[in-house]
């Protein structure tokens, strides 16, 4: 059984040895500051190449908690300065007053169309300003394209299990709109939000990949991206596996097990249900919001046409009535422009945040799937260990000569089992924090979206009211003349 699982693992990891190795290296060297003998020995003890890889992965995950506390102070400061509603003000006090608070701010700007035909794509200028010591300088400008952002998202998703990775704007869209100014601007804005959310996240902001993304020259970036395409290509299959595991509560058919490998924590069950239903509700609201944008445009168009027609009618009338008609027509046309403008504002500041909300929920579903995965692994390992234990006891009874090897194997398995448990527990712990953060963040985001929506509608309604009201005295004076 173990063989089966590990070969599966192997399959998944195989395509990324160079990166994985380099990261393993990084974490091990990082760990040298705070050595943990048990961990190192576990790495050195493994002999086969396959096992090496397997353990590398585990080591990496296990070390992460240490990694997070590597720069505790900046991380906390980030909370207080950037995530104002969540971080307590009290955290600021331990900070040394000597230097300026650390910051990392990114802006995605200047979308430019590159290439031609099918190959065409949009590139963005990504400008980073920071005083974090890990970064090469205080300001760096790189050129990135959408797939680079995808790369970053996928890397983070792989490494930071349990954290809700900020969502990316949708990948594909109708070809016709792909290069429309509105679509490009919406995507630019969404990408900007995406990177900044990562840069503001107290854990994600320390990601090596983020640094690569923000600092590496284009060639390096491209190399990193193409090295990872193996992972990316397998991704859809992987995800489907995961989702099937989550959504339908089937037993693990592969292992021939009968009991479902699902967490039976009622609180978490509730949360899962909440997330899945939330997505539906949000999608519904977003659909209507999008329709509302369209309706604004249509009303604008109708008003413009009506205005034009009324003006022509005015031209037929001459005299005072004609003047009145053309005044009305002019006002209609003017308001039509206002409506179009408001439609755009609505799209950017109300519909898009709603869509972003939907995407965030979808990203959470990804995390839920990872958690289910981790839980299953944990269960499977526990099962395997139990079986092994029975085997071992049998061997002890018959005093088999294989006992030494078997004991060795059992120890390894047990270590693996602990790994899996720790991994799962990490995900649970991180998720608990993330949920709180997510809810607070969304209250902020939605609050802002609602504010923008209401402000926009009020602005529009006032513009309409003012325009028509200013026409009334004119109509009065014209009607008596």
């Amino acid at each position: 059984m173990f063989k089966l699982r590990s070969s599966k693992k192997h399959f998944r990891r195989e395509s990324t040895p160079p990166n994985q190795a380099s990261f393993a290296h990084l974490y091990i060297s990082d760990k040298s500051n705070r050595p943990d003998p048990r961990e190192i020995s576990s790495v050195y003890r493994s002999s086969s190449a396959l096992k090496q890889r397997f353990f590398t992965l585990h080591t990496f995950i296990k070390f992460r908690p240490n990694l997070y506390t590597r720069h505790p102070i900046p991380a906390k400061i980030m909370i207080t300065t950037q995530r104002s509603p969540t971080g307590g003000g009290g955290l600021q006090s331990p900070r040394s007053p000597s230097s300026q608070p650390p910051f990392l701010s990114v802006s995605v700007t200047d979308p430019a169309k590159m290439g031609n035909g099918v190959q065409a794509y949009i590139s963005y200028k990504v400008i980073t300003k920071t005083n974090l010591p890990e970064y090469q300088g205080s300001e760096k400008i790189v050129i990135r394209r959408y797939t680079d952002f995808v790369w970053l998202r996928d890397r983070l998703f792989e490494k930071y299990k349990g954290i809700f990775i900020p969502p990316l704007p949708e990948k594909s869209t109708v070809e016709k709109f792909r290069f429309s100014a509105e679509f490009i601007e919406m995507r630019r804005q969404a990408l900007d939000t995406f990177v900044n959310r990562i840069a503001l996240h107290h854990e994600l902001q320390q990601s090596e990949d983020l640094r690569t993304f923000l600092e590496a020259d284009e060639q390096t970036m491209e190399r990193a991206r193409s090295q990872d395409t193996g992972i990316l290509k397998k991704k859809p299959y992987d995800l489907m596996q995961i989702f099937r595991g989550v959504q339908s509560k089937v037993t693990d058919v592969v292992l021939g097990k009968e009991k479902p490998v699902e967490e039976s924590n009622p609180e978490y069950e509730k949360f899962k249900k909440y997330i899945f239903e939330l997505e539906d509700h949000l999608a519904e609201a977003q659909k209507h919001a999008y329709r509302l944008v369209k309706r604004h445009r249509e009303l604008g168009q109708s008003l413009a046409d009506f205005g034009k027609a009324i003006k022509l009618l005015g031209a037929c009338e001459g005299d005072a009535l004609g003047t009145a008609f053309s005044e009305l027509g002019a006002k209609s046309e003017m308001l039509s422009i206002k409506l179009q403008r408001e439609a755009h504002h609505l799209l950017m500041n109300f519909e898009e945040p709603l869509k972003d909300y939907v995407r965030a929920v979808q990203s959470i579903k990804g995390t839920i799937a990872e958690r289910a995965n981790a839980f299953r692994q944990q269960c499977e390992l526990a099962e395997t260990i139990k079986l092994k234990e029975i085997d071992l006891n049998k061997m002890r009874l018959i005093r088999s000569e294989k006992l030494f090897d078997a004991e060795h194997e059992y120890e390894e398995l047990k270590a693996n089992g602990q790994e899996a448990t720790r991994r799962f527990e990490t995900i649970v712990r991180l998720m608990n924090d993330e949920i709180v953060h997510f809810q607070e963040q969304k209250t902020q985001d939605m609050g802002r979206a609602f504010h923008e929506f209401a402000k926009g509608q009020a602005r529009l309604a006032n513009a309409i009211a003012d325009a028509w009201r200013s026409l009334l005295p004119k109509l009065d004076s014209l009607s008596v003349s």
């Binding site: 509302l292 008003l303 009618l313 037929c316 009338e317 009145a324 609602f450 509608q457 009211a465 325009a467």
Partner: protein
């Protein structure tokens, strides 16, 4: 049903807030609707009917009641915030005095305008103290025992027509008659004959197809409304309201005393009787046109020979080979006619655009409502599932937005009903343009009659001259030729008389046309200004209400604003 209840609720809300806020325009407007038309038209009018239909997609306030704990306070809240907001908000944008001034004047003029408008459209502009009010009610099915010509279809519907008036021509102030649709057809045909050149309101269609396709009840109701509208328009026409025909129709009990002029059978019969006489000319005199007839339009089809001749004349006119002896020489009239044609074109264009504007307005209102309901659902969901305080906060914000979206949606719906009511004038005038075209057709038909008679005369003259020339060659005269000449001269005399009558008729129609055009210009001026002001005032008023609804939310959520 729900729709109406809801509307009632809305109105109640409007009136309630009116007491608190005198300057609120829309409430006054609501008042005016009731004052403007009589009560029945309020519920029957197209605008209101539409409005109630549009309720359904958004089930009204029910979903609210479930989540909204402060529902009872809502009207108070919104009206008081309305009270404060326009001023406070405007003061940010522009000098408050200006805003106030605009607001006040707009309010004051509205009442005046509505009243003026009401007078011009429902009663004679000359004497507003006269009244002639008509209502059509109580459709009843009856058996037609006499009419065996149409097998099967021997039931018909009669309508109770009630008239209230103080016109001296009517003996009495209130009376009722029962009439069927056929009687209305007779009335309209008689009017068309008697009042050539006038802009006579159009009779409702016979709608043969609809009567088969539609539900009986629905069809009868639609026809009842159409008839009422038609009769009211007739009553509003300054000349026709005083016509004998209308009076007989409204007043005389029992069978309609008017002659059926357009009964197909009798028309054909008339023509058939005259046909041989005219074509084969037993006597030449009888071939001449009956002078009394020329004042009647030939298109009625009673006089086939005349139709034949006039048709030839019109073809000749079209070919332009011979210039007709009398042409339309009234430059001013031609100019006006062309202008009206352009006007009609643009008017139909505008009415089309107005329709799509109304549609777009309805759509945006509906979508806002749906968005609101989606947020209501989301609010409910979030508050039920809430595990953190942040979710409760969000749910509360959401509820505000949802409530406002639904409020705004209702405002859009009301606004749309008002928009329909006002822009309906455009449609009405498209109908008026048809009556104008009819009146112009009367005029050109009369002219054609004159032209035909003139060419007939010159024809006769030519024949007489030829005969006289021939007769003069024979010494002592040719008896038969002399007699022929005498006969022709007699024919010519009769024809000449007919021509003179035709010319007079033509002149009369011209005069009618001219007077009607003047009346139209005046009424159109009033009606269109009324329409424009109504449209604009409602757009402004409802936009203000919407602005105050959204401003409240914007203020409540201002804590989230960027940079704060």
């Amino acid at each position: 049903m729900m729709g109406f209840e809801n509307q009632g609720f809305e109105e109640a809300q409007l009136y309630a807030s009116r007491e608190e806020m005198e300057s609120l325009v829309l409430d006054d407007d609501g008042d005016n609707i009731n004052g403007d038309n009589d009560p029945s038209s309020r519920s029957n009018g197209g605008a209101n009917g539409d409005g109630s239909q549009h309720h359904h997609p958004l089930s009204p306030s029910l979903p609210f009641a479930e989540i909204s704990t402060t529902d009872d306070d809502d009207p108070l809240l919104s009206s008081s915030s309305r009270h404060q907001n326009p001023n406070s908000f405007n003061s940010l944008l522009e000098p408050p005095s200006y805003a106030d001034a605009v607001f006040r004047s707009f309010d004051g003029d509205r009442g005046k305008q509505i009243n003026g408008h009401g007078v011009s459209s429902t009663s004679s502009p000359s004497s507003s103290s006269d009244y002639l009010k008509i209502s059509v009610t109580d459709p009843q099915k009856e058996q037609d025992l006499n009419n065996s010509l149409v097998p099967g279809g021997n039931t018909f519907v009669t309508y109770l027509i009630t008239t209230w008036t103080n016109l001296p021509e009517f003996n009495g102030t209130e009376f009722t008659v029962r009439r069927r649709f056929k009687d209305v057809v007779t009335l309209s045909d008689r009017l068309a004959d008697s009042y050539r050149g006038y802009f006579i309101p159009l009779r409702p269609d016979k709608s043969v197809v609809e009567s088969q396709v539609m539900q009986k009840q629905e069809f009868v109701e639609q026809r009842r409304m159409a008839l009422e509208k038609y009769l009211r328009k007739l009553a509003a026409h300054p000349v026709i309201r005083r016509s004998e025909e209308l009076r007989a129709f409204l007043h005389v009990q029992g069978k309609l005393p008017l002659m059926k002029t357009t009964d197909v059978a009798s028309r054909m019969l008339d023509g058939a009787v005259k046909l041989p006489k005219q074509l084969f000319g037993e006597s030449v005199v009888s071939a001449a046109v009956d002078p009394n007839d020329v004042s009647q339009p030939a298109k009625g089809g009673r006089d086939l020979l005349r139709i034949f001749k006039e048709l030839r004349q019109s073809v000749t006119n079209d070919w332009g080979s011979t210039k007709p002896p009398v042409v339309e020489e009234d430059k001013e009239f031609l100019e006006k006619k062309n202008k009206l044609q352009d006007f009609e074109q643009e008017l139909s264009n505008v009415s089309q655009q107005a329709e799509s504007l109304v549609k777009a307005q309805q759509d945006i209102g509906e979508t806002l409502g749906q968005l609101g309901l989606a947020f209501v659902k989301l609010t409910k969901f979030e508050s039920e599932e809430a595990m953190f305080n942040s979710q409760k906060v969000r749910a509360a914000d959401m509820k505000n937005v949802a409530t406002s979206a639904v409020k705004a949606s209702r405002l859009y719906r009301e606004l749309n009903a008002q928009t329909v009511r006002h822009l309906d004038k455009l449609h009405e005038y498209l109908g008026v343009m048809l009556t104008v075209n009819n009146a112009y057709a009367d005029r050109s038909n009369a002219l054609l009659t004159v032209q035909t008679l003139l060419s007939e005369l010159s024809n006769l003259n030519f024949r007489i001259e030829k005969l006289e020339a021939a007769a003069s060659k024979i010494f002592g005269g040719d008896r038969s030729r002399v007699r022929k000449i005498e006969e022709l001269k007699e024919t010519m005399r009769v024809t000449d008389e007919a021509k003179n009558r035709a010319v007079r008729e033509y002149e009369r129609i011209k005069e009618n046309n001219k007077n009607e055009l003047e009346r139209l210009d005046k009424e159109r001026h009033d009606d269109f200004f009324g329409m424009l002001k109504g449209f604009v005032a409602n757009q402004a008023g409802y936009a203000e209400k919407m602005a105050s609804v959204w401003e409240t939310v914007a203020n409540e959520t201002s804590g989230y604003a960027k940079g704060s």
